[in-house]
Amino acid sequence: MIFLVSDKGKLKVAILGLTCCGGCQLEILNLEPVLLDLVEVIELVNFPEAQSENKDGPYDVAFVEGSVTTREEIERIKNIRKESKFLVALGTCACYGGVQSIRNFGDVEEARKQVYDDDGSHIDALPATGLDEHVNVDYYMRGCPVDRSEIVDVLTSLLIGKTPEPKHYSVCVECKLAEYACLLNEGKLCMGPVTNAGCKARCPAVSVPCDGCRGPYDQANLESFIEILKEKKISVEDILRKFRMYTSWAPQYRNLKVI
């Protein structure tokens, strides 16, 4: 309900991690300018990366970063889900599996055996997936890493009792609003037209084509996009590799046919 902050006290928040680089949690710690204001309105019930006194749920909101890569993690994420009213998949790893899901395209078990020979049997390496292969996710906060302003937006939304609203358009929108020159039109493989907005076109901002780290947006016209790339004489291998960077395990990309 409206202005929950004043009505109901602090929001109980957990910030937890599975397998990833830790960069998205770091983006929470990187909220320096508002961090102290933030802890006025939320209670960090469980945040092992930053504090040593942590409690189990229930939580109002759990931010979970990282991909699910081991059996133990499957159990963990299921427990976290049970304990959380609102589950945010924090970052591209939690949303889609992240870079480590590139390995899913080969034989993971085979790879593990090859490296560890006999003494590698203790290592559990499953295909790396996003959280939603195992539990329901209430909000996908995409990005490798996430944009810290989105963290604040989502928290303020939840604080007033409003379900945060996802964006339904591509990076190009933010790129043009910020008046950056179009890199795709210069012949560079920019994933902007098929990628979820929300990063304010960080990469085009510094003349680097979008790598698609926020994954495909829901109405992305992949067929036309791939056709356009080919017309620009970008090789099929380069196209495929670009789709296999950060969000290769997104359902739309998993079985993508480029040729």
Partner: protein, 350 residues
């Protein structure tokens, strides 16, 4: 009527900067953008086109409309100053230096949209403080089609217009009283014109008609479109719909597009916040979705068709002005290579 030498323009801008804010085309990443300048030489009049049109000055990409407070009392306040070029200088006027003819046409259509029926105070507050100094294009660019739209010259909507008649000379056309005042405020920079210069002007204008005018014209287009909507030739739309990426950039760079979305933002305290508008695009999938998920334009085909109808037919029916000025920005921006003039030609069967 007077004349100005090319090399004097930066000096004129320097002088103007003492009294006005000046916004002009400046280079950025091998393209151009309209931006506030601090020195006259930053204004680059030889620019081809800007990524975003000068529209962003009156109608910024993001603009706060209302701020609200919710403590004991619920309070709404208009946020008028936000987003204006001279936030701190109160009502300092600003000069937009170097606007092309097509963009002036576009500003006229925006004026209609924002200044009639429920006048928009946010637009007006900035529009009323602006002076527009136009500049002519000497050559049409490949991406432009002002020839088709008839917008390569302009008669009103500016305070001064600099028509280049020579490598280093501009003929100054006065478009308003404010423009006339500018001339008399900076007499040192202008020269009197002679019969010879007038002759040059006539010649330049005549050559322009030859250089710019396109064999394709828009006459009859609205009627053709009337027939085209669901007709057998509807394949045009299907084809475009398949190609279009739905990225929306064509609208975002368009000087006459005016659609926006409205969003609220709240402070962490939950007690204060604001309502802002952000540019929107009818090519985005959920533009016409209503509660319950019903989408009035459910396919990309229906969306791109709507945009083209809006530009070439509906705007004309509503306000007597075409919604497209042929500036070519959408042609440049469209990653799918969809070009408005190609569509026009196709509809006209040329």
């Amino acid at each position: 009527m007077p004349l100005i030498k090319k090399q004097k323009i930066p000096l004129l801008v320097d002088k103007m900067l003492k009294k006005f804010d000046v916004i002009g085309p400046v280079p950025k990443d091998e393209k151009y953008v309209f931006s506030k300048v601090s020195r006259g030489e930053e204004v680059f009049l030889g620019y081809d086109t800007s990524i975003l049109p000068p529209k962003k000055i009156f109608f910024p990409q993001e603009e706060t409309l209302i701020t609200f407070k919710k403590d004991e009392q619920l309070e709404f306040k208009p946020a008028l100053e936000d987003g204006t070029p001279s936030k701190t200088d109160g009502d300092r006027k600003f000069v937009i230096f170097g606007v092309h003819a097509c963009d002036i046409h576009a500003i006229l259509t925006l004026d209609k949209q924002f200044m009639e029926v429920y006048p928009d105070p946010y637009y007006i507050s900035k529009r009323a403080r602006s002076l527009i100094i136009g500049v002519s294009c000497r050559e049409p660019k490949e991406t432009c089609f002002c020839g088709i739209m008839g917008t390569y010259t302009v008669e009103k909507g500016f305070d001064l217009f600099l028509e280049q008649i020579d490598e280093d000379e501009f003929y100054v056309i006065v478009g308003s009283d404010e423009g006339r005042k500018l001339l008399s405020a900076y007499p040192d920079f202008f020269e009197a014109s002679t019969e010879e210069t007038l002759e040059k002007l006539r010649k330049v204008l005549k050559e322009k008609d030859e250089k710019f005018a396109d064999s394709v014209s828009i006459t009859g287009l609205p009627t053709l479109l009337e027939q085209e909507f669901d007709s057998v030739n509807g394949e045009i739309w299907e084809e475009l719909g398949e190609k279009c990426l739905g990225c929306g950039t064509c609208c975002l760079v368009c000087p006459t597009c005016f659609c926006f979305n409205v969003v609220d933002k709240v402070e962490l305290s939950g007690k204060e916040g604001l309502t802002k508008r952000v540019w929107d695009s009818c090519l985005l999938a959920d533009f016409a979705v209503i509660a319950g998920g019903f989408n009035f334009r459910p396919t990309q085909t229906s969306r791109i068709r709507y945009r083209i109808y809006h530009k070439l037919k509906y705007e004309l029916e509503r306000g007597g002005i075409l919604g497209c000025v042929g500036c070519g920005r959408c042609n440049i921006a469209c990653p799918a290579g969809i070009k408005m003039q190609d569509v026009i030609k196709k509809i006209k069967g040329e």
